[in-house]
């Protein structure tokens, strides 16, 4: 009956099209991943990378410049900077991953609700608008001042800060596709709201949401460092990159390694995640291709 040709079964089937990859790996994305991977490995393998305790105080050995025994020197309490950097990466990544997961959960749920139901949009839209009118960091400081410094509270305040962006991204996709003909067709065969939203519409939002989340991850690391720098983040003596920089302020002239090394690490982490986000965005939509640095 059908005379139209059909590919043979041996032909390789294409991967799921939840995300339409318009091109192969983007150089920015690759470089970002290459920069981020050692950071993640460092956090996971922290106990094997350094045998020194990041918390042990050794007053006679304070402010030693980099040497074979202490590759990044020691701080004003004689603590090994390498050990503190290595264990500090765990905090940065925990805050990043924790807030990214929370942001994704709340962002997708609230975004879907506000894209689908008009009454929910009125409420969620106004609340997220009012969160977005604050300069992000000021809001983070306000939240931390209210709920007190701790690692988990940093995760909460980063989530509150970033969730409106994810809500908007998801909402935009839901609104874009809720009137699409394939959604109407699925409704015609009897699919309910849940099926329409989570099986037909949401996968179309996966790409833009991933881009947002990778920027959110970078943001989380930056905000954690900033809050710790102000003494509002992870409380001492836990080795956070931000609090290391704060402690190092007094020794900029005498011990340059104290401020350079954590500063470099923060830059590296944030840069790698931004590259990943930019790369992802360009891979998803080549039309938006920025003339990036790579």
């Amino acid at each position: 009956m059908s005379t139209e040709p059909i590919g043979t079964q041996s032909e390789k089937l294409s991967p799921p099209r939840a995300i339409a990859w318009h091109q192969r790996a983007n150089p920015m994305f690759v470089v970002g991943v290459l920069m981020l991977t050692p950071l993640i490995l460092m956090a996971i393998m922290a106990p094997f990378l350094t045998f020194l305790d990041p918390l042990s105080i050794n007053a006679p050995q304070k402010l030693l410049p980099p040497s074979w025994a202490h590759p990044f020197g020691t701080d004003h309490f004689g603590r090994d900077v390498l050990a503190r950097i290595v264990y500090g990466s765990q905090i940065s990544l925990r805050v990043g991953i924790g807030s990214t997961i929370l942001t994704a959960l709340f962002g997708i749920f609230l975004g879907v609700a506000s894209g689908w139901y008009h009454w929910a949009d009125a409420i969620i839209g106004r609340v997220s608008d009012s969160l977005m009118i604050f300069p992000g960091f000021v809001l983070a400081i306000m939240i931390m001042a209210a709920i007190g410094p701790s690692e988990f509270n940093v995760i909460i305040s980063v989530t509150v800060l970033y969730v409106p962006r994810v809500i908007r991204t998801v909402r935009a996709s839901v609104i874009e596709f809720r009137g699409a003909e394939f959604v109407e067709a699925a409704r015609t065969v009897g699919a309910g709201d849940f099926r329409l939203l989570f099986l037909h519409i949401l996968p179309k939002a996966a790409g833009p949401v991933m881009v947002q989340l990778s920027f959110g991850f970078a943001w989380a690391i930056l905000v954690e460092a900033g809050l710790s720098f102000l003494g509002l983040g992870t409380p001492p003596p836990t080795p956070s990159w931000g609090s290391m920089i704060a402690d190092a302020r007094d020794f900029i002239r005498s011990a340059w390694w104290l401020i350079t090394v954590p500063g470099f690490m923060i830059t590296l982490a944030v840069l790698s995640l931004n590259l990943i986000g930019d790369g992802l965005r360009d891979m998803l939509d080549p039309r938006l291709q920025s003339k990036g640095i790579l």
């Binding site: 009956m1 059908s2 005379t3 139209e4 059909i6 590919g7 079964q9 089937l13 294409s14 799921p16 099209r17 939840a18 699409a180 003909e181 394939f182 959604v183 109407e184 067709a185 699925a186 409704r187 015609t188 065969v189 009897g190 699919a191 309910g192 099926r195 099986l199 037909h200 996968p203 179309k204």
Partner: protein, 347 residues
Amino acid sequence: MKRAADAPVIAVKNLAKRFKLRQSWLKRDKLVVRAVDDVSFEIAAGSTMALVGESGCGKSTTAKLILQLVKPDSGEIYLNGEPVSEATPQLRQKVQMVFQDPYASLTPHFRIESILREPLVVHRICPPNEMRDRIGASITAVGLPVDVMSRYPHELSGGQRQRIGIARAISVNPELIICDEPVSALDVSIRSQIINLLLDLQQSHNLAFLFISHDLDLVAHVSDFVAVMYLGKIVEQAATEKFFAGPRHPYSRALLASSLVPDPKKRIQFAPLSGEVASPTELPTGCSFRTRCPLAIDKCARVEPPLQAIGEGHLSACHRAGELVSSEMLTDPSAPQSAINPQPERI
């Protein structure tokens, strides 16, 4: 399911839908578009009714109203004699739709198997372990090889996709299938294949079809009844043979005259229409077709012609339907138009 023996699969009575266009939140008065206005028809099992008209005349809105994708403002819909007022699971199973654009109507990130599984899951048509076989059977029924199951819509051609759309529609044992221009997006070379597939399935499943189209040759081929819509209203309704033998509404005549017939002698002659379709927000007084009608008389501007019987099973909404019996009356397209088409008053 209980069902009156003679109840048509679908009956629509005085269906109406108005869309309000808000111009600006400052202006209180809203523009109202009468997308569907007082439309009635019924379709019996195994028969096809064609809904014909220009784009924007309310054909697709009628389909959406029947499917309860859009809530009607007034009017009743009866499925097998039982009134339908919301999207019940029963309606979603018994009434299916084949969409115009097979590219847009299949979820792009679903494999064909998932697309065809969805209606089976939603309506609990069969136990999960039998689904694969059933999906395979419906793919075979529309003339595709079973291995398309593992493919994505974008890997198929337009004709193959439309076959999948048809497979999805018939997989839940529907009684009415609404075909919204099912072949107008397809290559001419495969249109007849898809049409024949639809007609075969209609016979084997005793399906009622609501066939929306503007292709009159196709309508003549597939349908048992024809309803012509103009600006939201049905202006003529008749059995297909009667309609094509002698349309009794000037708009139908104009439509027929505009379709190309290989034999020029058989072509219906009619004065070409002048002007544009009246704005649906500002309908003319009286007959909404009078602004373009070559036969318009004074009465047309004053009194809206009702859709009334002018022969056995033949309805027409024209004051001059009686004069349209003789087909010679208007065969001379060179007749001076200004004489019969005075510049209509605009309101």
